[in-house]
Symmetry: C2
Subunit: 162 residues, 2 copies
DNA sequence: TATTGTTATACTCTATAACTATA
DNA sequence: TATAGTTATAGAGTATAACAATA
């Protein structure tokens, strides 16, 4: 294949895969969103924030949450405000750095999250129930490869633009 | 496995797969969104709407667009208004039903979309470039299975609630 | 009565940038 | 100066529901 042909190579397969991937995630995500709203009066970003905190009992700093949730700082402040007002999380001063705060689940938040997480797991198991354990595993592995590649490309772009 | 155990069966594998899938699509989608904004001053929903129209030269009715884009009617009206104001699409009366309108790409819109679609394909090819053709194919097949299953579950739920 | 599309409204999420307080 | 977090703002996307015109 000469250069010209390589430049204009057909990427139809990748595109079709991408569109199908997007359809799958959108279908599932919409289900999850509407059920979180109906059954728990909450939203996916709020659920995601609590999920991050649940893994780290001592809590996470705002900027760490921001990084993990892949959103900017102002948003984390807003969602944290809501959850704090509802008694789900608390802001805890960090000793040694009076600028920083640790956000952590309260025991109320931990209980509420446990219920939601259980239901969430059931919803996901339903949605992915059409796949055999073997297929789940294959998908997991291939998407792991994709994730690594995308993350690498991402960093290179940031490098370029910086 | 008895009923009790089945009820509380572990769905950790499915959950991990789902989170990984979500991470992959979010990473790629963010890239696409920011590039559409930077390079073409447009958004993903607008791009998606034009993509639907591009496949159907004679145009699509509002409710058909709404179904395909998986959003409610009012939103389609809004996005269509913007694109019409920019001369990308036009509303065409449907003979035989004076309530309905066909939305179709103008020649300006077709040209603009062709450019964007080409770039879009390159971005996607970049993002998925870490996978071999064989892996792309496997993913495509497995996600096809997933899509069918999710769509079926979706319809059953709608059936229940209706 | 049902359907097509529009309008009006309200809410969530988002990024950006200016700001305060600490380091 | 740089960093942690907040505030203010503006914009996009979304759903819901009331509405007009037509079937």
């Amino acid at each position: 294949m000469d250069l010209e042909a390589r430049l204009h190579a057909d990427h139809g397969e990748e595109l079709r895969l991408w569109l199908r991937m997007l359809t799958c995630t959108q279908l599932i995500e919409q289900r999850v969103r509407s059920r979180l709203r109906e059954q728990f009066e909450t939203t996916l970003p709020r659920f995601d924030l609590m999920a991050q905190l649940e893994r780290v009992p001592q809590g996470l700093k705002m900027n760490e949450l921001s990084r993990r949730l892949m959103v900017t700082g102002g948003n984390v402040t807003g969602i944290t405000d809501q959850l704090e007002a509802e008694g789900m999380v608390q802001r805890v001063p960090v000793q040694g750095d009076r600028r920083a705060l640790l956000i952590r689940l309260t025991s109320t938040g931990r209980k509420a999250f446990a219920e939601m997480a259980h239901q969430h797991e059931v919803w996901i198991a339903e949605a992915l129930g059409g796949l055999s354990p073997r297929e789940v595993d294959t998908l997991y592995t291939l998407l792991g490869k994709l994730k690594q590649h995308v993350a690498r490309v991402q960093n290179e772009s940031i490098g370029e633009s910086a």
